[in-house]
Amino acid sequence: MKSLKSITGELAGKTVSRRSFLKSMAAAGAAASVFGCSKGDDGEIIYTGGGNPDIEIPETGEAKYFYGSSSHNCGGRCTTRAEVVNGTIRRFLSDESMMSAEGSYLNGESRNYPQTKACARCRSYKYRLYHPGRLKYPLKQTIKRGDLNGFKRISWEQALKEITDKHKEVFKKYGTDGIYAIYACGHDTSPYESASSGPVARKNGIDNTPYGNALRLMGNSQTVYFSNYSAHQFQFLAYGYTGAWPVGAMDMPANNVARFTDNIVMWGNNSLSTRNPQAYASVRAVEDMKKRCQGEDGKGRAVFVGPEFSDTGVTCADEWYVAKPYTDSAIIAGMIYHMLENTFNLETGAPLPDPWLDIDYLDTMVYGFFDSPAYNLNESDGTISPVNGAPAAGSRNVNEVGRGRSYCSWILGSSTGKTYSETSASSNYTAAKYAEIDPSFTRWAPCSYTVNKAPVTEGGAAASVYKTKRDYLTPKTPEWASAISGVPETAIKRLAELYAKGGQILSLWSGGMQKQAEGVIALFALQALHVITKNVYKQGASIAWYITPTIKKASGITMSVSGEDYSGTLEVEKPAASCTAWHNAIKLAYGDELKERGYTGQYIPDWGVDNIGKGKVYHDDGGAKAMLAWERDGDGKVITDNNTGYFKYKTDTDGTPLYAGIRLMYNTGGNIFINQHQNSNDSREMLECLPLNNGDSDTFCLVSFDNFLSPTPMYSDYVLPAATNWEQGDIVSPTNSTPIYMPVVTPPPGESKSTWDFAEALLEAYESGLSKNITGGHPLEYHVKKAFQKASSNVDSGYYGKTWDEYLENPYLAAEEDNYKVSPACMLQPMLPESIMPIVSMDSYSNADKKTAFIKRSAGHYVIMDDAGSSSNISTALSGDYGNQYLQSSIDQAPKSPLRFAVYSDVFVWNYEHRFEKWHGYMAASGNTGQKNEDMFEKDPIVLPIPMYFAYEDYFYEAYNGELPAEGNRFLLTTTHDRYRSHSSMAENPLLRELSHKVPGVRKNVDNPAFPYTRDEDTLKPAGDYGHYASAPERAFEEGGSGQYPAYNSAIAPDGSVSQENKEIASYSEIWMNKADAAGMGIQNGDLVDVWNKIGAVRCVAKLTKRCAKGFLGLHQGCWYDIREIPGSGTGHKYIDVGGNCNTLMASKPSRADHGNGQQSAMVSVKKVENY
């Protein structure tokens, strides 16, 4: 085995053949395309026209094998192996280990089989690495963002000098507050090489300091934000909700499913596609559950609820309940109604003899299912007494759940129940106390939420423009839910019975259910369903994202970077705005400039040009309004004004607040800005209207570090070429093994740098000698070697006694399956050992006297049960803090947690209304602080304490400013993650494009014309534009370039037309459409269609299928935004996105309560494109 050095030496010798490879690519591109390829000043290719990735790989020569993985954020991390011949990767293999590192045989029939076999993404990785469109040199935009003709090749030295000079200028005027690293996950491996969570901008240092990154060393400029784009609604609910948090488990162990779960309900689940390393465990766990439950009535079912029957559904489900999207909480309400009518006589309010719901449990443990009076709660023994002024120490006053405000009251609509004393057994301690405190309190009353600021009446409801409110007094019967969701009434009743009487239920919600306009509320409703039916705190009942195998990992190497040093820097306090709030932070800072230069906000129909200006933002801002320049003390703490209680902000010379917003944005390995945030058109318009960076403190500057000129780099001021896995040394953590070191096995293209080297160069450009504080003055491999040496002398390590060369040859330590271990009955993860913090199960509680709330306040417990405003310390590093800083005077008035499960949460509402309060002192004079927005929803509160169904029509009514798509051509569209991209990574990969992109028209059977294809599945034409994709216009980087609009698909002309010669190759993303719908619209399989709403328009190929519900369109996530100016499209839009990026259709209006990315929500029209 050769040393790493000799391998890299060999790689260096490979450059000649690589260049000849590029040359052949260029020739192919020029021959096949009118656009051709681009050259830099020295004639070298910077970014070529496509060309077929016909990679020249020697067929002979000794093959070497390297373990590793890919870097994209698909939700998993499978183990792959590269077969390398003379420094070029010939092919990729996957994990094929037969034995664990401990020496045991791995049983392929086990649900915990640890082998991770790569899916199509990693299997086709060679075509990504050697793609001719890879970025090779730093580029600087000189004309206008997005204009390819304006890109000039510059040196790394020039790029880094200009970027760090800009950094210093911004810092001089705005301090740390004007600098921002946007959330990104395109390269997501380790703290050493990850793009956004690596050495440039990672949240945690290798030495476990918060924000141990290059930006911190550059003037404490580290970035703080809340959450991520994948789980914003989920994380918010975990944080802002009072009561126990069963959704806290992301994953459910396969062993628990196999041994304890009785039924599985998948709420739109597609985890087999998004969690590939866990996919086999999921399939097998479901099989094992069914096997165990065989013969038991009503058990062993896997039910899928949703509009698009995902691959997960096709593989695992026994039943598909075809539901419209966004209607989950209506279905749940209908189910609970059915449970209630099997628990009470709803006419008389009297309990039935064999009730489906446990009334005693609901009274004692579930706050707000029924209306209830205010009371004083003894925190240690759970006893209840009437409120008598301020609470004594050790007790708390719990607010009433006012008449008609409980979840039950809303579900029953206009019905009135019986009093507690009439409907409870004498042994029900809580009910007895309620009856004592206020004998007149009935369990439910007519819904009393407000319409136009007054409690709802029949007339008031009828007068509202909002369907949500028109339904306040409507009983939420299965029939009602069926009309909304499309799920038959009988099926809703069966589902209700399943949850109430079907044993232990596992709900798999996947990610999509929460990434919608009402995603927080939908999860809240699902959680309420589990709480009400006691499907929590049991070994087989839970709410989880996916099922995972239980494995034992071998002990590997423990990395550290000796010499990492942040002394002299600070952990500065900053407001933690939502990770999705950056666009508003730019609007806050540059409103005036945007308006002056023609930014119209036209893609945000509910905003309007009058509202654009400095210091103004769109909608509830997700914390952007807190992004001023702040006064800090010497420790980096923000100074509080003792007179007002607000934080002190800096002011401009004219006394107005210094709206720092975002002035310099680092985008390392991400495509959020243009592509993956909702509303690509608005982001583009904003970037086009902002003046280019001129180096001063006040022009905006976007720096992208990436592998491809994907849409966000395309619209950046500076584009820096990045290496990726296999081209840079890195520690990766395969899902089912210990972390391993991947050496360089193939050279990075052109001048692209590893992230480690980029961080080092950036720091050196900022201040000579600074980089050793982050690297210890050594290359990454030095630190890996040290860690390895430690491991190799440790008898417990899997590497004991091995040499470095042996390690490089096989660093992989396969894990061992564990078929016996099950997670405890309490699905919450106690943070203290079980001996100190006993695990309490639902069953043990149910058998007790039910006097004490079993979720007691206990420090360090995972359960979130904070009081409103209770967490008032600014956290600089934890993403859990989301504007949780309040005035003390507000906190004093805040509601208290009931220390029980809550399906009614006034804490949730209070936190929403007060969030960021202390940061908003500059708005106090207008009476406008915190987050509440009283101008919407007819000025009624928009966040309510119960998980009611908010009608999707209302979201679109607001987001599209009252103009819904025409009746008769109105479709609901969501965007699931399929397997042929990872978010927007791999959009360029030809072996994946041919699985997801289609040429318009239908394919005939060319091999056997006598037997033409008869099935729609066979007639779709796979993409053929590999030589035309991810290319740039001719002469793009030369003086006076071609003037062509930037385009990824050069087979489609700038006006959207396709020449005759390209007709059989030009491809578009497929969009799934129900066959019956299509028949009514005159759309046939393979037809080219435009899909549009007020926000944008996309062009796709229709795939007709019965895998989606009527009235629904499925456009899968991650295609690259690629617009054409197409006259007369009839969509009302000047530009149509022929790339088919779903986010072109997603409104800017954030999701309710969390102000996150509700970006799987769109209502659209569709029509066939006749001429193109």
């Binding site: 996957s94 086999y280 691959d311 042929y980 599945e1017």
Partner: protein, 206 residues
């Protein structure tokens, strides 16, 4: 000995790992030739949706071999039907003969002609050879090695039938969608499928 494919329709997750791994392994560029295809077919009756992953079925009576006038297709004693691309004369009769559409012919884009000195014709037929070189070395096929759902197995036909109760031979009656190229039911394909279980659909799709 009759080498055959077994495919578990209830475990296939439709991920295309096998089809892409196959292309990557054999250097088959993007384009119309694809030794393996994955398609989720839709039927009017339960199970309504079913994944079919199929390549050459190495039939006992290969229609392609009978049709080939150049003698390029042979059947080995272990049942594997192999094509010798250097013998192919681009007569293309195999393309119409195979009921499953397994043989493929590339175009200039997918298979650049330059450097193809190994055979006289530009694009001789190619198809799945069941990874004979690997099998002969005692290794497993690429598709079996890559299958995420453990849904593919290659082995002796009778042995596979024994190992997988419920598996049935691919047939026009049970899997009509497999016969996408013609209805020749006489080839006796070496392809066993464990069918997907039933599905109940609540709600209307029509």
């Amino acid at each position: 000995m009759r080498m055959a494919f077994f495919f578990d329709q209830s475990r296939c997750i439709g991920c295309n790992a096998c089809t892409v791994a196959c292309k990557d392994w054999y250097g088959v560029n993007p384009g119309r030739v694809r030794y393996r295809t994955q398609t989720t077919y839709e039927t009017d009756e339960a199970p309504f949706f079913a994944s079919l992953v199929m390549s050459c079925n190495h039939c006992e009576k290969p229609a392609c071999m009978t049709a080939c006038g150049a003698g390029a297709i042979t059947k080995r004693s272990d049942g594997i039907v192999v094509v010798d691309r250097s013998k192919c004369q681009e007569l293309h009769s195999c393309l119409t003969a195979c009921p499953f559409g397994a043989p493929g012919v590339a175009d200039d884009t997918q298979e650049p002609v330059k450097g193809n000195e190994k055979w006289d014709y530009s694009h001789p037929m190619q198809k799945c050879n069941m990874c004979v070189e690997l099998l002969d070395k005692g290794e497993k096929t690429v598709c079996e090695r890559s299958c995420v759902g453990h849904a593919i197995e290659v082995g002796d036909y009778d042995e596979l039938l024994r190992r997988h109760p419920g598996a049935v031979q691919v047939s026009k009656d049970l899997f009509p969608y497999a016969y996408k190229n013609n209805n020749d039911t006489t080839t006796n394909p070496s392809f066993l499928i464990k069918p997907r279980k039933s599905l109940v659909i609540e709600g209307s799709l029509d």
